[in-house]
């Protein structure tokens, strides 16, 4: 882990593709020690002699020290501890951690416990995806990509869809969160999962409440899909943007699927398809180390995940490169369908409209998310209606001696891996997490570079580049926990352009109040 000392970056970066017989010019370029991020997203751009982008590096604040923090702690505490890492997806960490404990103690939860976990998880996914559509992704596309910046925020979304819809979103969210509190005690830090089961059964009354809200959630999801189709798909500017080359990458795609290769957020095998859509691998959670490795770059704290059998070939796309991605679009690409009827219809429509599977358009993540919202709500309704979910037997007590456990779920933002190694008393010796964003990190870096290349030419730096970069970034909805503070405006963003000798040329800084400064 670097501590802000001068870092040297060799000439290779996102742009390099190895061509037989040509050796790209290698230069040593030093990145200023201010590279250590303090709450800024930072983009370093290096120009060639013509003033065009040779390479761009994107860094964001990254949580550090997890392994050291976990060492010495009882593994049984991890579902509570890891849910505190991130205020956005606590339930995802909680669930992956709980499954890692099942694996650690080699214990299988009774059917009712499994169903309760998946029901709660579907509730969480419904809430998260709904919130994202209206308030996070919405400003980009519900309002429209060419709308003035002043309207591209959640107020602009409400202006477009109407106050009644806004109230509906808030009400739906509140009901979903009440269910999470009912099952887990708290919405922010659920107390639900235990190795071998869950902490609390659901009564018949609880179940009835889940059923009631689930029905409303399905209606709400259908309405959201309709809104998307009316407001977004009928806006040809936006459709053009979705399909534009600037936001297209042909990589591998990863997602969790059930035994019929349909998306499942809670459990199943992990499936990877190649850029042409064919199944490339399908493996169990505990085999992930054979398929996923992490690559370190000197200019970033983020570890870039890649497909181990293919090897790290740099920031490139295509079937030879180990770069892959996760999250809604990847999940739909990696699956053969969805397990619930309305969502399956929506799945088919998405691929029919966008030219078949797989879809490589990053911005199609927003559409895929709405399709998944419908699946999550339908799945919630299915599970809530299952009589077994109110069965009192919700725990199998573990008896095996712990040693190693791996748990994987699909977080809203992509595949999440928890891996613990313990001593025979269950005290953690080693721990590793691969969060959703690490799976996407390489592709995000490529997207940023592509955006920079499109908007910085002949040494001219257009301010629009900040918006393009942000739009790509937002489509991945990365989980960077630190950019969460309440002062108004955006995450401060700093873009520094260097000439071909590495000297600073232009800096664009977007402050927390949204104003852009050029120097």
């Amino acid at each position: 882990m670097s501590d802000g000392e001068n870092k040297s970056v060799k000439g290779s970066g996102p742009a390099e593709t190895s061509k037989a017989g040509t050796e790209p010019t290698r230069r040593r370029i030093t990145i200023d020690p201010i590279t250590r991020l303090e709450g800024h997203g930072k983009i370093e751009v290096f120009l060639d002699e013509q003033g065009n982008v040779e390479r761009a590096f994107f860094q964001v604040p990254e949580l550090r020290g997890f392994e050291r923090f976990a060492q010495g702690r009882p593994a049984e505490d991890m579902p509570q501890i890891t849910s505190r890492i991130c205020g956005v997806c606590p339930t995802a960490h909680h669930m992956a951690s709980t499954k890692a404990l099942d694996n650690l103690y080699q214990v299988t939860p009774p059917p009712a416990a499994r169903k309760i976990r998946e029901l709660v998880y579907s509730t969480f996914m419904t809430e998260d995806h709904a919130l994202h559509f209206y308030f996070l992704g919405g400003p980009d596309f519900v309002v429209g990509p060419t709308a003035p910046a002043a309207e591209r925020n959640i107020l602009g979304v409400i202006a477009k869809v109407g106050i009644e819809v806004g109230k509906k979103v808030i009400a739906m969210r509140r009901k979903l969160r009440e269910l999470l509190i009912l099952a887990g005690g708290k919405a922010a830090h659920p107390v639900l999962g235990l190795p071998g089961g869950v902490a609390k059964r659901l009564t018949v009354q609880d179940q009835a409440q889940f059923q009631q809200v689930a029905s409303e959630a399905v209606d709400f999801a259908e309405f959201t899909l309709e809104t998307f189709e009316n407001v977004v798909l009928k806006n040809s500017d936006y459709v053009k943007l979705i399909c534009s080359e600037a936001f297209t990458h042909r990589t591998y795609y990863m997602g969790m699927v059930d035994d019929k290769n349909r998306v499942n957020f809670y459990d199943g095998s992990i499936r990877v398809v190649s850029p042409d859509g064919k199944e490339w691998a399908k493996f169990r959670s505990d085999q992930y180390l054979d398929y996923v490795a992490e690559h370190v770059e000197p200019w970033s704290y983020v570890k870039f995940a890649y497909l181990k059998p293919l090897g790290w070939k740099g920031f490139t796309e295509g079937a030879e490169s180990g770069v892959y991605c996760v999250a809604p679009l990847a999940r739909l690409n990696a699956a053969d369908g969805l397990a619930t009827p309305l969502a399956q219809e929506a799945y088919q429509k998405l691929f029919a409209t966008l030219g078949g599977r797989p879809v490589h358009y990053t911005l199609a993540n927003h559409w895929a998310r709405v399709v998944e919202l419908l699946y999550a709500a339908e799945r919630m309704k299915e599970l809530a209606g299952d009589p077994e979910v109110a069965d009192p037997n919700v725990r199998t007590i573990p008896t095996a001696t712990p040693r190693e456990g791996i748990g994987v779920v699909e977080a809203p933002r992509g595949t999440l891996f928890h891996h613990y190694q313990t001593d025979e008393k269950g005290i953690i010796q080693k721990a590793n997490l691969i969060v959703a964003t690490q799976n996407n990190a390489a592709r995000i870096a490529m997207s940023v570079e592509k955006a920079a290349k499109g908007l910085i030419t002949g040494g001219n730096v257009s301010e629009g580049v900040l918006n393009m970069v942000e739009m790509a970034f937002r489509a991945y909805d990365p989980c960077h926990g630190c950019a969460t503070h309440s002062l108004p405006g955006s995450m401060p963003l700093l873009l520094r352009v260097h000439d071909h000798e590495g000297n600073p040329l232009t800096t664009l800084r977007r402050d927390m109040d949204g104003s852009i400064h050029r120097s």
Partner: protein, 186 residues
Amino acid sequence: MAFTVRVLCLGNELLADDAFGNAVAEQLRLLFPASLDVVETPVSGFALIDYLPNVSCLLVVDTVQTGKAAPGTIHLVREGDIKSVSGCSPHYVGLFETLELARKLLPSVPQEVIILAVEAADCTTLGGAMHPAVQAAVPVALDLVREITQRCAPVHSGREPQPSEAVRVSIEAVVARFGRERFVVI
């Protein structure tokens, strides 16, 4: 309606300086009567909408990383002093956007919103220690709560307190007491 105050302490106790909000909440519970409405939460952005209804004055305690001030610098912001925000946060909807939205969609939203945000050095090291300068800002937050709750307490002579003025005077008093150079007042 009686003038009520809620202190909303935002923080993640695992993340070094981001535990500032939690530290303030802990002290508030020890030092103030149980009747003080203190909320401690790790959520952010739009989820803060849950904490807006049914209170007249909301004091938000949080950390921030502007990169433009020394760690421990205390930023004081009143909602009325911030111009409308354009553009969306790459990840999270800011508090002020949430407030504007809440005013359109909820029946009850605070009239007074004040943010006390301390410049953090490190919010990314799990299990990391709090920077001493950030720790030193805890008493400032406590003092602001004391000032506001005292100045805005119901007056027995029947005069209603003027919240806006009371908040302004409270901020001035705290800044003067601790030294202007420690603050950025917007």
